[in-house]
Amino acid sequence: MSDDMREQIIEFIYDEYVEDDSMKIEDDTPLISSGLVDSFSMVSLKMFLEEEYSIQMTDEEASTEAFDTVKRIMALVQKKLDEQG
């Protein structure tokens, strides 16, 4: 998984969800379970990933668990990219 992908995802999360500039988001920082990203907002995160990486995810794949950390999001995106060949 590329550093570019990590940076893009983290940048999106900072831009869209984080108001406290001192907040640090690492690969394992809980996003949904910590309340940083509301579960209602996952649809916009899903849309960003689909748009940015030209992938399609089902609602089942885009679960709260799969979106809970940057690491898990990257793994899901990479899986979808691999499936597309």
């Binding site: 869209e16 108001e19 406290d20 001192s22 907040m23 809980p30 949904i32 379970s33 910590s34 309340g35 509301d38 579960s39 209602f40 907002s41 649809v43 916009s44 849309m47 960003f48 748009e51 709260t64 668990e65 809970d68």
Partner: protein
């Protein structure tokens, strides 16, 4: 399906209760004094006076699951006292002043509300995901002088400070190294000194207690004003409808930013001395099941959206946990579909008992009581002491079973809202021919059971939360690309309804997936994730009446596959 009468349900024979109960008996049944009405006092001092000071009042688990805090009733009392003193002596707030609450589900939220109520301060709870516009639309008109918030959320409060001149004090919990600005002060449980005595302010039954803002079809949200006299109904419905017992571990999953999270996540259980669980995290299947198991939850009050999401995970997931302590389940927020009732019996061995009420009613009005025959999908029967009906378009009661009309309640009842704050004409418009109009449509079957049919207006019920189309449309128009817009409810398997927006773009803007995402995020930040359209359809123009009013009902009918009805007022192409 017929449920066996629980051997020791609190209500006992619900038919007899309906026949002989009226609200004047509530205090006597509860064993409450006639001369004390302060909700904060009932939830703390009175429980301790009964010798239950050492009993657990709150079990709280942090969002990461790493921290669990437990508070006894005496700790709750002393910390609520500390908040009451801080509000009055340190900040100079007076009884009747409004204090907004903008916190995630941390202990300060619950204890702060109790402290404020104890001091006679009017508490205004708000959903922590509200964006700056939604925040300003509530804090501003309420005239709040103070707001309880926390570091993570205070940045949104800072953005609206200039719009809300009445706001003098921003009370920040867990500020860490945050540099405080003018009017900001640090106060939370880390610095609060437990206080042995604080004389509860001698409120009357009609003293203002909580201000809950709720959305309507037109205009900005309205503040449903509640009073301390709501308490007997909140307590008795907790006792009879939710059937709580003294040895229960009770979990109401609602956020106190909404009325359920206060009426049944603060007031109801604590006024009865019940131990309750609060999970800071939102809905996560495994965390929820783990919590039910680890804390031994016995009474669980949740929402259809959550139940439907749990259904998706299946019965096998349930079997991974020991949920054998669950004794009673109830649901609120939107109609509980029959499949969910049947599934819960398969999954948990007991059904969810649906309850119906709304922000304005303050407490449960229609419900399935223990011992009642549950008709899966029905709202149930009116709670003892409640008179309900469905009305024709001329506001006359419908006597024929199975005919839909507007659901209405006969006022007064103790927990009824007393006004829309500073909006008397809107309040008056909710009453016709001696009935309170709920805005919901329902019918009554031959056995008197109520069946929900939908809203009587354009308000969108998403996951049990009402969202007003006007608010969304107003915010959409602030986006640089939007020329005109309409927000309607779209059916959703899990949320019942979600927001869908129809948007006509200004010249120079082209529809695209990227623009759709930008507009969605724009609304999420301005209002809340709940108000964010889950879908945007770009259109050339919106259907309007000849007088230029957007015909939302046509757009809604299209989404629901319904007949579009009379279009004679539609403007010509």
């Amino acid at each position: 399906m017929t449920q066996p009468m629980p051997a020791q349900s609190n209500i006992g024979d619900h038919v007899a209760r309906r026949a002989d109960f009226d609200w004047s008996q509530a205090r006597e049944i509860l064993g409450w004094p006639a001369d004390q009405h302060n909700i904060g006092w009932y939830c703390t001092d009175r429980i301790c006076e009964q010798g239950l000071g050492d009993k657990l009042a709150l079990i709280w688990e942090s969002s990461d699951g790493q921290t669990v805090k437990r508070f006894t009733y005496d700790e709750l009392r002393q910390l609520a006292n500390a908040y009451a003193k801080f509000f009055t002596e340190d900040l100079g707030l007076k009884p009747g002043d409004v204090c907004a609450v903008f916190l995630e589900r941390i202990p300060e939220l619950y204890i702060g509300i109790l402290g404020g109520l104890k001091a006679g301060i009017v508490m205004l709870p708000m959903f922590s995901a509200f964006g700056e516009e939604a925040l300003a639309a509530r804090v501003g008109p309420s005239g709040a002088k103070a707001i309880l918030t926390q570091r993570k959320l205070c940045f949104r409060v800072r953005k609206i400070r200039e719009q809300v001149p009445d706001l003098q004090h921003v009370i920040i919990a867990e500020p860490g190294d945050l540099e405080m600005q003018d009017g900001e002060v640090h106060f939370d449980l880390a610095v609060a000194q437990p206080l042995g005595e604080f004389a509860a302010y001698p409120v009357t039954e009609e003293s203002r207690s909580l201000l809950h803002y709720t959305s309507g079809t037109t205009g900005q949200p309205k503040g449903a004003q509640h009073v301390h006299g709501s308490l007997p109904q909140q307590a008795l419905t907790t006792l009879w409808a939710l059937d709580v017992r003294q040895d229960d571990i009770y979990w109401c999953t609602a956020d106190p930013g909404w009325v359920t999270g206060v009426s049944y996540g603060v007031i109801g259980p604590w006024s009865l001395g019940i131990t309750q669980l609060v999970m800071e995290c939102g809905f996560i299947v495994d965390r929820w099941y783990k919590a039910l198991q680890e804390y031994g939850v016995t009474m669980w009050y949740s929402a259809p959206t959550a139940i439907r999401l749990l259904m998706k995970e299946g019965v096998d997931k349930v079997k991974e946990y020991d949920l054998s302590k669950l004794r009673h389940l109830a649901s609120v927020g939107e109609p509980l579909n029959p499949e969910a009732v049947v599934w819960s019996e398969q999954a948990y061995g007991i059904p969810f008992y649906d309850t119906w009420w709304q922000t304005e009613t303050g407490a449960i009005q229609i419900c399935n009581l223990p011992g009642m025959e549950i008709k899966a999908g029905s709202m149930g029967l009116p709670f003892p002491g409640v008179t309900a009906t469905v009305l024709t378009d001329q506001f006359e009661p419908i006597t024929e079973p199975g005919v839909s009309g507007q659901l209405a309640l006969r006022p007064p009842w103790p927990s009824m809202f007393r006004e829309y704050y500073k909006e008397p004409s809107k309040y008056e418009s909710k009453f016709k021919n001696g009935w309170y109009l709920t805005g919901d449509r329902a019918y009554i079957d031959e056995e008197g059971y109520y069946w929900f049919k939908g809203r009587d207006d354009d308000v969108i019920n998403t996951g049990g939360h009402l969202v007003g189309p006007f608010e969304i449309e107003s915010a959409l128009l602030e986006h640089e690309a939007v020329a005109e817009s309409a927000a309607v409810a779209k059916p959703d398997d899990e949320m019942m309804e979600v927001v869908k927006a129809f948007v006509a773009l200004k010249p120079g803007f082209e529809p695209s997936r990227k623009l759709e995402m930008q507009i969605m995020n724009f609304i999420r930040k301005k209002l809340s994730p709940l108000a964010m359209p889950q879908e945007i359809e770009f259109v050339d123009k919106l259907p309007k009446t000849r007088s230029g009013k957007i015909m939302r009902r046509l757009l809604r009918a299209k989404e629901w596959g319904e007949e579009i009805g009379d279009t004679s007022t539609l403007e010509d192409d």
